[in-house]
C-alpha cells in the first residue's frame, strides 16, 4: 500500500480524491500497488463529505507520520505550500504539485532535495492542465535536442481571443463574459498580462533545455491591447492572434523566451487550438514538429495530471526520475537581438513613408477601416525594428509580432 496525503481540499484537491476513487481499479493496476488516501489537509470542515474521516487541520500530523509516502500539494500560492513541500521532501516523502508559482520560484531547490534523497518532486499539472507535456519532455522526447517550445498555455486568454476573433467583441466585453463563466478571476491580471503563461513557459523550457530558466527574466506582454480591428486584419491575412509563450534555441547555446500576442498562420498546428483549450508545440532536432493538445485547466483534467504523477511516484518510490533537470541557469539573449517579423498598424502616414524606413513591406488594407493601413516588415532584429519604427512617430497604432 502507498499512503498519500492531499494538501488542500479545494477544486483540484477534491478532483484528486474523486479521480482516485472513481478509477481506483485501473490506477492501482498502473501503479502496481494500492493507492490509499490517508489524510486530506484543509482548514475547513466538510461535514458529511466522504473525506471527513481522513480530514486533518494540522500539517504536523502528516509531517510526522512516517507511513505517508507521497504528499500531494494542491493548495496553490507560495506559502505555506513551500514550507510544507520542503519539509515533506526533507523527510523523504515524494511530492507532486499543480502549483506553477511554487515550481517556477522554488523548483530548483525542491528538485535538488528530491534528487539528493532519491525521491521525486513532480509537477505535471503545473503546465497545460491535463496535457501530459512534462512527462513527454522528461520521458518521451529523450532522443532529441529540443529547439523550440511554443505554447498556448493560458485557457482564459485563449478563450477571450477566440471570442474576439469569432464574434468581434471588445476586450472588456469578453473579459466580463469570461469572468461570468468562471474562466477568468475577479482580478484577471495574472491571465491577461501573461504572468501565468510566463511561469509555465519557464518551467517547460527548464525541462526541455536542461537548465533553469527564471521566469523573471522572460519578456512578457499581455493581450489587453488587442482589439477587434486587429482580429479583422488577422482574418484578412488568413491568420489569427494567439497569446504565445515561446522559447527557442538560436544557434549553439543561445536562447530566447517571451510571452506575447502573435499573429499565427494556418500552417501552425497551434492555429486550431481554440476556446479554453491549450496546446504545446515542440520542435526536436530529429523528431521535427510535434504538438500536444488538451484541456489546460478544469478540476478533473488537472486532477488527472496530478494523479498520473502520484502513479509515477508510487512506481518509483525510491528512484529519482527527473533526468534532464539542472539548477544551472539558462541565460537569455537580449530581446534586441531576437529576430522576427512585425505587423504594424499605422494612421496618418503613407506606404511611401513606411517603405522609405523599412524597405519593401507587405501592405494590408481593410475597407472597413479607411484612413489607416497595416504592414508586415521583413525579418529583422527587434533592436533594428525599434530604431526604425521611431521614425514613424505617432502614426503607429499598434505592433503585433508574427510567428514564423
Amino acid at each position: 500500500m502507498v499512503n498519500i496525503a492531499v494538501l488542500g481540499y479545494g477544486t483540484v484537491g477534491s478532483g484528486v480524491v474523486e479521480v482516485i476513487n472513481t478509477n481506483h481499479k485501473s490506477i492501482n493496476k498502473r501503479a502496481g500497488d494500492d493507492i490509499h488516501i490517508k489524510y486530506v489537509l484543509d482548514l475547513r470542515d466538510f461535514p458529511g463529505d466522504p473525506v471527513e474521516d481522513v480530514l486533518v487541520h494540522d500539517y504536523e500530523v502528516i509531517a510526522n507520520d512516517p507511513e505517508v509516502d507521497i504528499v500531494v500539494e494542491v493548495m496553490g500560492g507560495i506559502e505555506p505550500a513551500y514550507t510544507f513541500v520542503k519539509r515533506a521532501l526533507l523527510s523523504g516523502k515524494s511530492v507532486c504539485t499543480s502549483n506553477k508559482a511554487l515550481v517556477a520560484k522554488h523548483g530548483p531547490e525542491l528538485m535538488e532535495i528530491a534528487r539528493e534523497r532519491d525521491i521525486n518532486f513532480l509537477f505535471e499539472a503545473s503546465c497545460g492542465g491535463g496535457i501530459p507535456i512534462i512527462r513527454a519532455l522528461n520521458s518521451s522526447l529523450t532522443a532529441d535536442e529540443i529547439d523550440e517550445i511554443t505554447g498556448i498555455l493560458n485557457g482564459t486568454t485563449n478563450y477571450m481571443l477566440y471570442k474576439m476573433s469569432t464574434e468581434g467583441c471588445e476586450f472588456d466585453t469578453v473579459l466580463k463574459e469570461a469572468q461570468a463563466k468562471g474562466y477568468a478571476e475577479a482580478d484577471p491580471t495574472a491571465d491577461v498580462e501573461g504572468y501565468d503563461a510566463c511561469r509555465k513557459i519557464a518551467i517547460l523550457s527548464s525541462l526541455a533545455y536542461g537548465r533553469f530558466l527564471n521566469y523573471e527574466d522572460i519578456y512578457t506582454e499581455g493581450i489587453a491591447k488587442i482589439t477587434p480591428e486587429d482580429m479583422e486584419y488577422a482574418k484578412e491575412l488568413g491568420m489569427t492572434i494567439k497569446l504565445l509563450a515561446t522559447s527557442r534555441r538560436v544557434g549553439d547555446g543561445s536562447f530566447y523566451a517571451m510571452v506575447a500576442p502573435f499573429l499565427l498562420g494556418q500552417n501552425s498546428p497551434l492555429f486550431s487550438v481554440n476556446d479554453v483549450f491549450n496546446g504545446v508545440f515542440v520542435h526536436g532536432n530529429v523528431l521535427g514538429d510535434a504538438m500536444f493538445y488538451g484541456s489546460g485547466a478544469g478540476k478533473l483534467p488537472t486532477a488527472s495530471a496530478v494523479v498520473a504523477d502520484v502513479v509515477d511516484e508510487a512506481k518509483h518510490l525510491h528512484r529519482n526520475i527527473m533526468t534532464n533537470w539542472s539548477s544551472h541557469p539558462l541565460c537569455l539573449m537580449d530581446m534586441k537581438e531576437v529576430a522576427g517579423r512585425f505587423f504594424v498598424r499605422v494612421k496618418g502616414t503613407t506606404v511611401d513613408q513606411v517603405e522609405a524606413v523599412f524597405g519593401k513591406v507587405e501592405i494590408v488594407n481593410l475597407k472597413q477601416l479607411p484612413g489607416e493601413f497595416a504592414f508586415i516588415t521583413s525579418h529583422m532584429k527587434q533592436g533594428e525594428y525599434m530604431d526604425k519604427i521611431s521614425a514613424l512617430g505617432d502614426s503607429v497604432l499598434t505592433m503585433i509580432r508574427v510567428k514564423d
Copy 2:
C-alpha cells in the same frame, strides 16, 4: 555502458545510428549511462560507412553475446524479425522495434516473455512514427479510463486525401503523385486499403483498454472509393474527409473498432491534421479530450521514437514497465450494433423518397452536381442503416460515415 545491437541498416536503422551519434551527449544524460552501438546486423556490406567496424552478417554473433543488453529490431516484416526478437527476449535482452506487423501479430507472446523475465519489449515507433503516443498511453494517462482513441495513423492516405481536398485531384492522380514523392509504395495496398492503420489502432487499443485487440477482428475500409465530388460535398458542409482508425468503449465493457473514411467537422482537433502528418485523439474519463500530433513516418522521426525506447530500456534494464498490457482478448461488438450518422449521395431518387425511408434528414445540394443530392441520416445503428438503405436500391452512389 549499455550495449545495443541494431538489426537492419535500412532507412530506420541508419536513422537510429545517426540519432545516437548526433545526440549522444543528451541521450546518455537521459539514459543515465553510455549507450554504445556494439553491432549492426545487415546482409549487405557498407564499405566506408562508419558502421563498417560493427557490422555483422550473422545474428548468432549478437544472440550469443551476453554483453548485448538491448536489441533494436528495425528490419520490418514478420520473419526473420519474429525469430530474432523472441530469441533475444528469451535470453534476457530487452527489445525495441518499429515493426507494427510484428507487434500486431505477436505482441502478446513477446510482451509476456518480457514480463516474465522483467525486461522490456517496447514499440513506440510502431504507431504514429515520432508521436510519443505509446508512452503517453502507458506512462502518462495513468489516472484515466480511456473511452476512445481515434487516429489519423497513415501519412500516405492523409496526404492523398489532403491533395484531393485542396486540389480537387482524382484518387489515381494523387496516388501516382504520392508514389513519385516516395510517400506511397509501388504496391500501395497496405496504405490505401487501411491495413496499415488497422494494425496501428489494434496496438493502441490494446494498450489503452488493457486487453489484446486482434487486428484481424477490426472492420477495415480504405479510401479508394473517395472522389473529388465527395470532397466538394464535405467542403459544402464545412467538413473534410479523413481516414480514421478508431476504437471506442460503449457503455460498460463493450467496444467497437474500425478503420474507414469519415466526414469530420471543424470541432475535431483532427480536422487540421493535414499532409503527411499523423494525429491521435484520446478521450479519457477524467482528462477529457487530448490530441497528439506529429510526423507519422520518415527516417529521423521514426528513429527518434526508437531511440527514446532504447533510453527507456537502458533506464529500466531489469524492470518491466508495460503496466497496462494483458493477453486477455478484447471482444468487439457486432458492427451492426455500432451507431452513427451516415452521409449518402444518391441519384435518380427524390428527397421525399429518401425521407419516406429515413425520416427527416439533412439535405445537401451542389450546384456543380445537378441530378444528384446527398443527405445525412440521424443517429442510428449500422444494421438499421443497412436495412433502410436497401430500399433506395441503385440510386445510392456512395456512403461515408460521419464522425460524431
